[in-house]
Amino acid sequence: MKKNLAVKLSQISKKYYLHHDKPTLIESIFSRKEEFWALSNINLEIKTGSKIGIIGPNGAGKSTLLKIITGIATPTKGKVNTQGKIASLIDVEAGFHPDLSGKDNIYLNGLLLGMSKYALDEKFNKIVNFSGIGKFVNAPLHTYSSGMKLRLGFSVAVFSDPDILIIDEIISAGDEEFQRKSFQKMKSFFKDDKTIIFASHNLAEIKQLCPITVYISRGQIKSKGQTKKVITNYLNNQS
């Protein structure tokens, strides 16, 4: 893999089986399987430091693609190469436990995102300050408002200092003020050599954040390039 690439996907295909019920041992012996290709033959190179948007209708395979880049899902065919630490903002609250304090949750979530305990000790105050949860840091998480939880999760992810940040619709959650704040922070935070991969339905945000966009439909890349052109293409296809 070339030095200046953050992500390289070569001929990625992902097949899922459709389950009608919970998978069981009995079912696996007796019933036939229905196949479904979520992605087929995706080739994509993302340069280090680029901010790339991913758009496409629901069910196009955006989330599957992000999962494959993150390493959560494994492609059925093809090869994934990534360079650097990846953090994903797919759902920042996933690692939280409602009965534990904000502090415990910061540590837990940070470790789940691949941070070391040492790094967490060092950045703990910064995370708390950025999230703005203040005195609530020692209160159990179930006393937090949903906005506070969101801010906390976002702060941990941002301070986990990834080389590649993967965002799936996160900004459209939370209140308007937080959306603006996090969006601004993200822009300033990742000005440098960090790579951002951003999937969204919000075309205005994509336009603002990403110079390059990939348009995916039915598991295939329809077009790729300058955001303006790709979005025009996407809108023409939609109507």
Binding site: K67, L112, S116, K117
Partner: protein, 264 residues
């Protein structure tokens, strides 16, 4: 130099830190749900001891000296094994939001469940040991006794970890594994010398018990409370089997964990 070490933290160290944090979470969450959360770890085997002790001493008239202490010494580790295994097996499915959204070594999920139950087991074992020290009738706390206890605890932890890795991993792909494990644990309890010593089994049937990898561990755990012996060669075979279970658990878990997301 320092920066390099920090950024390229060894994977094993991160695994250990994550495992410890998740185990702490399991323990804390248990305390916070119920004030008596921890006490139940001790009360449960006590109730079991009274019920089983009553049935066997009075109805079946079992003649074992200090039968209730003998029982209790076996019920504590058994409860660890059965609780850890049955709670760890469906755990990856329960934590599916986490598994589907973040990339981390998945083995920490079942292993943190096993370790948190092991912690509770250790605490209740210490309470039990204090009782033994102050109990006038028993002179159990010898060096041999403690060594036996320690080694069998480690073996039990290894076996429980390996088996839990295997069961929790397969349960993602075949959800009926969970029910299978529940039934298995129920039968396994009676098939293991816990409420009875191995020596009451006629020697021609004992071979069947030797096939149970837990029979050696429980015989040794209860050795201080009743005179019973376990053949060394069989024990050795069981120890090898136990470590093979762990290796198999790790191997299968490692090869299957990348497909978890597809099935959750």
């Amino acid at each position: 130099m320092f920066v390099i070490i920090r950024n390229k933290m060894p994977k094993n160290l991160h695994f250990a830190q994550l495992l410890i944090a998740l185990t702490k979470k399991e323990i804390k969450a248990r305390y916070k749900h119920a004030v008596l959360g921890f006490l139940w770890i001790f009360i449960n085997p006590l109730i079991q001891m009274f019920v089983i002790g009553f049935v066997f001493s009075f109805i079946f008239n079992v003649k074992i000296k200090n039968y209730s202490v003998f029982l209790f010494s076996g019920l504590l580790p058994w409860n660890f094994f059965s609780l850890a295994l049955t709670k760890a097996t469906p755990r990856i499915i329960w934590d599916r939001t986490l598994v589907k959204k973040a990339k981390f070594p998945r083995a920490v999920i079942p292993l943190s469940v096993v370790l948190s139950h092991f912690f509770h087991f250790l605490i209740s074992w210490f309470i039990f040991a204090i009782y033994l020290i102050y109990s006038p009738n028993f002179k159990f706390l010898s060096l041999t006794f403690l060594t036996n206890q320690f080694l069998s605890m480690i073996l039990l932890l290894v076996f429980t970890s390996g088996f839990s890795l295997l069961a929790s991993c397969l349960n993602v792909f075949y959800r009926d594994i969970n029910f299978f494990i529940q039934a298995l644990v129920l039968i396994w309890f009676y098939a293991t010398p816990i409420i009875y010593p191995l020596k009451v089994i006629p020697s021609e049937y004992r071979i069947l018990f030797y096939l149970n990898p837990l029979s050696g561990i429980f015989t040794i755990i209860q050795q201080g409370f009743t005179t019973q012996k376990f053949p060394t060669s069989i024990l050795l075979a069981q120890v090898i089997f136990i470590f093979c279970t762990l290796l198999l658990g790790i191997k299968i878990f490692k090869s299957k964990q990348k497909f978890f997301d597809d099935w959750l």
